[in-house]
């Protein structure tokens, strides 16, 4: 498995697009800047909704309205994140593909996506779903705290890729 992956990285590094990313100095910092700006949008959106779920912020606005304001943005911005992240991988495949921190980041991202989808679907099915009973309010609070931790974990892992890469 690892041998195949190393072979894949070597092949990717030798392709023309990878060569361009490697040799044109401004591409990586520019793409990283766009990537971080997109992380800022997705992460802030999630935290604003999570803080509303915890009843710590924006209590004068109903939860479904806060979710409708911020969560839909997640999906197009996530697409930009995948494209910019893809460019960074093409430029330096070993830095991430041979780095366990990268896979931790992707696993946490999968959790965050499932949680966001779950929240959107539950609110679409029943706008006051998370406010009906005390148990649901408690569950919503726990899920919100977990969501913020998962997103912080994604950013931690993202920064740590630079320190754990061996390639």
């Amino acid at each position: 498995m690892t041998a195949t992956l190393i072979g894949f990285c070597s092949w990717l590094e030798s392709t023309a697009p990878s060569q361009v990313v490697q040799n044109v100095g401004w591409i990586i910092p520019t793409v990283q800047t766009v990537h971080i700006l997109c992380v800022a949008i997705v992460f802030s959106s999630a935290v604003l909704v999570d803080l509303r779920l915890l009843r710590l912020l924006g209590r004068d606005v109903p939860l479904p309205a806060v979710a409708r304001r911020y969560l839909p943005t997640t999906w197009p911005v996530l697409l930009v994140l995948m494209i910019t992240g893809g460019v960074l991988i093409v430029g330096e495949p070993r830095r991430s593909l041979l780095n366990s921190t990268f896979y931790i980041k992707m696993a946490l991202l999968a959790v965050a996506i499932v949680m966001t989808l779950g929240l959107q679907r539950s609110l679409r099915a029943s706008p006051n779903f998370w406010e009906l009973t005390a148990a649901r309010r408690a569950a919503a609070g726990i899920a919100a705290a977990a969501s913020m931790l998962v997103w912080c974990g994604i950013i931690f892992a993202g920064r740590w890729i630079a320190y754990t890469s061996t390639g």
Partner: protein, 165 residues
């Protein structure tokens, strides 16, 4: 004033904290991660408010209502960004000060602050008359537009520091 600032920076750069951050291989990336989390929250939340000023989002709510649901998080995150950024800075103060992208970033944050103060104390003084309109006066849209551009430049400057240190 400048001399005092220089003395303070020199004092902090020689402190035990600065030594620890320099020498502990775990502490620097940890502070960086906290810093990235904090600046992401600052920029994402400021952007949400700027989009309201520009009339591109949350247009059915007043500016004050949108700000109240966002700014406590912005300021908390900004405080965290200043503390984590300050600790990163004192670990290598002279190199950061000599880096023009670092200097540009600090100036840009100053401009973002100035833009906010001018809008808050000047343009927004009579906001009770217009803040619930979908399309806000030019001064409000200008403040929102300038804010977005300046914060974009702050992130670009920040990223370039990493490639030029």
């Amino acid at each position: 004033m400048m001399a005092t600032l220089q003395e303070l920076i020199a004092y902090l750069a020689q402190s035990a904290w600065a030594d620890s951050i320099r020498e502990n291989e775990f502490l620097f990336p940890l502070l960086e991660s906290v810093h990235v989390i904090a600046i992401c929250l600052v920029i994402g939340t400021v952007l949400a408010l700027d989009l309201r000023l520009l009339g591109l989002a949350s247009v059915n709510r007043s500016v004050t209502s949108v700000a109240r649901g966002i700014l406590p998080l912005t300021w908390g995150a900004f405080a965290l960004a200043v503390v984590s950024g300050g600790l990163l800075f004192i670990s290598n103060a002279s190199h950061y000060l000599a880096n023009r992208y670092f200097d540009a970033k600090i100036c840009l944050i100053g401009i973002a602050g100035l833009n906010m103060v001018i809008f808050h104390l000047g343009g927004a003084k009579d906001r009770w008359h217009w803040e619930s309109e979908r399309r806000l006066p030019t001064k409000a849209r200008l403040a929102g537009g300038v804010s977005i551009l300046v914060w974009l430049a702050v992130v670009a400057g920040a990223r370039w520091i990493g490639f030029t240190m």
